[in-house]
């Protein structure tokens, strides 16, 4: 079966009318989708121009410095992705390659937590973070984020590992390889693409997270970009100049995610698609 990538078209030959209608439909919706972002950029330079960006990059608002939020977000995101990929890969290997009693039951037990909403864990995460002494630490945010991502990670990676030909494993076993050796030299290398996809998605999800930073990182120096959207709000007066600067701050807070979408597009989209149901 020939497989086409996203870059290739379906073998449909649009007639003139069909093509015009298609382009019109797509362009209208693309404009509608881009409108909020265009509006934000327009408003940010309406009064004061691009100097607003210099202003908000160099000042702090309610103790929050925007460049520092990028650093905080990056640290949390890397921790989150590292936890998810490492713990997820180990667990997926066990479910895929090791035959033990109750394997499938445990696997579905893991997937059961796919639908747990972060808000339902607010109270216990607050309690646990205090107990573990993790308030105002990057790990305090990365841990609950990672736990909520792990069900998806295990699903994604097990699907990949199930596709690894068993002949490779049997050959390794004949050479007296242990599970640790098979994991390091067979399963991990062949899952590298999926791990890259998972890492990209984990970073995206971490950058998006507002809930856990808002309850764990009370120190303004620790604020993440998603959290800063709320934290800095009251620092801007409702005047034309400061409203424009507020929008400049919002645009800047979205820049890291936009850059990742542009440069890691393949990994993000592959990760999204690979998580689906297999035929």
């Amino acid at each position: 079966m020939a497989t086409r990538s996203l870059e290739q078209s379906l073998p449909l030959h649009l007639r003139r009318g069909e093509r015009i209608a298609t382009y019109a439909f797509i362009v209208i919706f693309a404009l509608a989708f881009a409108a909020p972002l265009i509006n934000a950029v327009q408003t940010s330079i309406a009064v004061g121009g691009f100097e607003n960006y210099l202003v908000v990059l160099t000042r702090s608002y309610n103790g929050v410095s925007i460049p520092l939020t990028f650093l905080n977000s990056a640290i949390v995101a890397v921790m989150h992705a590292t936890l998810v990929c490492s713990v997820g890969a180990l667990a997926a290997y066990a479910f895929s390659f090791i035959d033990f009693r109750g394997r499938e039951v445990m696997y579905y037990g893991v997937l059961l937590f796919l639908a747990v909403p972060a808000t339902a864990l607010l109270v216990p995460v607050y309690f646990l973070t205090g107990t573990l002494g993790l308030f105002n630490t990057h790990l305090g945010v990365a841990l609950p984020e990672a736990v909520l991502t792990l069900p998806f990670a295990v699903l994604l990676l097990r699907n990949r590992m199930d596709d690894i030909p068993r002949e490779l494993v049997e050959a390794a076993v004949m050479d007296k390889a242990t599970h640790i050796t098979i994991f390091r030299h067979v399963a991990l290398p062949l899952s590298r693409g999926t791990l890259a996809n998972l890492a990209a998605l984990s970073v995206m999800w971490s950058l998006q997270d507002f809930l856990f930073p808002s309850i764990v990182l009370r120190d303004s120096q620790m604020a993440t970009a998603a959290q800063a959207v709320q934290t800095i709000r009251s620092a801007f007066a409702p005047t034309p100049v400061e409203s424009a600067q507020y929008y400049a701050a919002l645009v800047l807070l979205g820049v890291p995610a936009v850059l990742i979408i542009i440069f890691a597009f393949k990994y993000v989209t592959n990760g999204i698609s690979a998580g689906g149901v297999k035929e």
Partner: protein, 315 residues
């Protein structure tokens, strides 16, 4: 297909196990149990602490009247559950969560599907369009919803200004003050999240055999007919994926509501997420929030069971 292949491969291995000289294989198999413990330990620890222990904490706290300091707790039995279940605001939030999830599924299966098919049909600058549709889903939702929320303002919000500018001033609404208008606004922002469904459809439609569509084209079918009659049924498993992922996402749609309408007017657009958040950080009613959390978790876990069953049958 994967299952069939796996079962074929399994038989030879079973046969080889029967041969006495290959005791090494059985030795590895025997060690599997302990290896499994080792490989699963990190996951087990994280799950035990952040899920199981969390559920325990919720169970205890939900029977108390207590604040965020967790001190001076007073036992109140199941009073918190009675109060939450009887609260019209919680009932409304639960209904909203379900309604918004249903709307999200509907718009994903219709608009998401159509846009994905069109993008796959020879459109130029495809990647740019994918990026535009994905952006709202991948930048911080707190950010996107804040910008959108500002656009909703009655007097100088961009939406009403745009409507007046194109001569539709009568359509300008008090988006945050009128319940019906607020629901429309939430529906619009939910629609902005169809980037992920578009990706699912676009990737899966790329797997459809070319000859199927070529023969339909030769028969004179229009592209709309091909989309509706041929491709929509063929992408059945993708619909399942989209429904499951969208509903899962809806359980986590806190930011969308909190930063756009903040539950206005008067809590009418609250979902369970914003309800719990306000109870926890706004009202400092931790026992109450814990009881609400347990009720929400029961619904979420019930849905998880359903999706596991559906997913199994889909494989």
């Amino acid at each position: 297909m994967t299952r069939v292949t796996t079962s074929k491969l399994t038989k030879p291995r079973g046969g080889s196990k029967a041969l006495p000289p290959r005791g090494g294989v059985s030795r590895v198999a025997l060690k599997g149990g302990w290896y499994a413990v080792g490989f699963l330990a990190p996951l087990g620890i994280l799950y035990s602490v952040y899920f199981l222990f969390s559920f325990g904490i919720l169970g205890v706290v939900s029977t108390q009247r207590v604040g965020l300091t967790f001190r001076n707790a007073v036992d109140v039995g199941f009073q918190n559950f009675v109060l939450v279940a009887g609260d019209p605001a919680f009932q409304g939030a639960l209904m909203n969560t379900i309604a918004f999830a249903a709307f999200s599924v509907a718009v994903s299966l219709s608009l998401g599907f159509i846009l994905a098919m069109m993008l796959a049909s020879g459109i130029r600058m495809r990647r740019a369009f994918y990026t535009i549709f994905l952006l709202p889903s991948l930048i911080p939702m707190s950010l996107f919803a804040t910008v959108f929320g500002r656009m909703l303002e009655t007097r100088d919000g961009a939406i009403n200004e745009f409507l007046r500018a194109i001569g539709l001033g009568f359509a300008a609404q008090d988006w945050l003050g009128d319940p019906t208008a607020a629901y429309v606004a939430v529906g619009v922002i939910i629609t902005y999240a169809i980037g992920l469904p578009i990706m699912y459809y676009s990737t899966d439609v790329a797997q459809v055999q070319a000859s199927v569509m070529e023969s339909a084209t030769l028969d004179g079918a229009s592209v709309w007919q091909i989309y509706r009659i041929m491709l929509f049924p063929l992408l059945r498993t993708t619909h399942i994926t989209v429904i499951l992922s969208v509903v899962l996402g809806s359980f986590r749609a806190f930011d969308i509501i909190y930063f756009s309408t903040a539950g206005q007017p008067g809590g009418r657009t609250d979902i369970t997420g914003t309800y719990i958040y306000k109870a926890t950080l706004g009202l400092d009613r931790i026992g109450y929030a814990a009881a609400a959390s347990i009720l929400v978790l029961l619904v979420a876990l019930a849905f998880s069971v359903v999706q596991i069953i559906v997913r199994r049958k889909a494989l």
